[in-house]
Amino acid sequence: MRFLLALFMWIALLFGKDNTPSILILNEYDSSIGDIQLSEYFPSKNFIDGEDTSPFLSSLDSMNNPASGRMPLIRTMGEDFDVDYVLFHQIINDSSRFLLEGQMFNTKSGGLIHRRIVDITNYYKGQMNELKLWIGDVFKEIDKDWVDYRKLILFNDPEDIVQDKTPQGAMARSFMVPGWGQFYSDEYNSGVMFSGLEATLLSTVLLSYLSYNKSVKGFKNYTKLYEESSEQIEFDEYRSRAESEWDKHKIYNSAMIYTGITAGSIWVVNGIHAYIVGPRPKKDIIQKWDITSPNSN
């Protein structure tokens, strides 16, 4: 009996179905990240390169149900390529940002079984490692070296991040020049609004001050002429002008004070706003060392 059971298992192992999962890889990269040979890192997997990524380029999040939105497509691809999984990668690089989106589909059900979005600032020479980490995470085959390499490059704790841009820096800039902190934080609309508003108000303050000064000079001049004049026609005229200038200097004074208070209040609001919209480290993970070759991958 034992002999028969062992014989059956040996035959099953010898002629049974191959358990190595096959994966169709679809990559949509905006720039090359080097020669990708995933089979070197995952020898137990059977990777098949696909070419047509166009069905995957539409946003998954725009679907009513992202997990099941591509079921018919995935099932069809599973039958056509005879694969167990479909793995779609989308990598976007720009001058300072690396964005990796990975989507893992099961061809039997057609559903999305795993998804990951990595969004890292100033990340170079780490994109390939990030891809390995993602696939390793999918198949639970993460190499410790990959994790260590990631730790070497990236800060794990946001508190340890040396920030290129900070909310405090944005606030300080906005307190110095209204709108500067907003521009610094890439908040261009509010930057234009605050700088424009302050420029208008401060111009009004300056204009009021100049008009006030002119009225004061006029008032003093006409007062002097009035006091020096003994002729009724003259001092009546100078009195009228002096009173007119006095009224004007009072109006310009009020305009200057109230506009100044408004400008000051908006200046403070602008500083607080710059702090609120200022860059936050929890959103952007930053590489430890200074960038020397941002174009390198």
Partner: protein, 188 residues
């Protein structure tokens, strides 16, 4: 830090220069200004109200009667009694008020009958309007211009003795004087 002080000092500079000035319009010949300090028309005043001169200067002082802007009083003559410190000032010359707007003239612009006496720091001026035709007097009347010569340095008040001053109408009835303003002369 320098920038910080620049940003702070700019608004402080603007605010420190933003004072509301007192509207002090005081001309003794202006009835509006006189009424603001409780001197009501008709009033006898000097112009200018104060002046500072040196020993070598000649001091010119005008004697005026101020009526209200709407006055229709038929004023035709006056006697002004003026007191001054004769240890500091002496009278150099006296002239009747000049012809022109605000002057003591009739409609034909004739010079009034004008006499004066001077004694021991007191000057009496008599000016009479001689026309028998209708008279036209505006709110301000220049009675006389007095030139003083300084005798020594100091401050002297030139003032009217209203108990002896008179303004008379065409029918020689007296117009009461309601206000008076002195002049201050400082010799350095």
């Amino acid at each position: 830090m320098n920038r910080f002080f620049l940003f702070i000092s700019l608004p402080l500079f603007l605010l420190s220069n933003c004072t509301i000035y007192e509207k002090e319009l005081d001309n003794p010949n202006d009835n509006n200004a006189n009424e603001e300090i409780g001197v009501y028309p008709p009033s006898v005043v000097f112009f200018p109200k104060e002046q500072t001169k040196t020993m070598s200067d000649t001091i010119s002082l005008g004697a005026y009667i101020v009526f209200s802007d709407t006055s229709i009083i038929s004023f035709s003559g006056t006697h002004l009694n003026i007191e001054y410190n004769n240890s500091l000032l002496e009278i150099d010359s006296i002239a009747p008020g000049w012809i022109g707007p605000g002057s003591l003239t009739d409609s034909n612009q004739t010079t009034p009958l004008f006499t004066y006496t001077e004694s021991q720091g007191t000057l009496d001026i008599y000016a009479y309007y001689l026309s028998t035709s209708d008279i036209s007097i505006d709110s301000l009347t220049h009675i006389a211009e007095i030139w003083f010569k300084p005798l020594s340095a100091g401050e002297s008040t030139v003032q009217y003795d209203t108990s002896q001053c008179q303004i008379i109408k065409y029918d020689e009835s007296i117009i009461p004087i309601n206000g008076v303003r002195d002049a201050s002369i400082k010799v350095q």
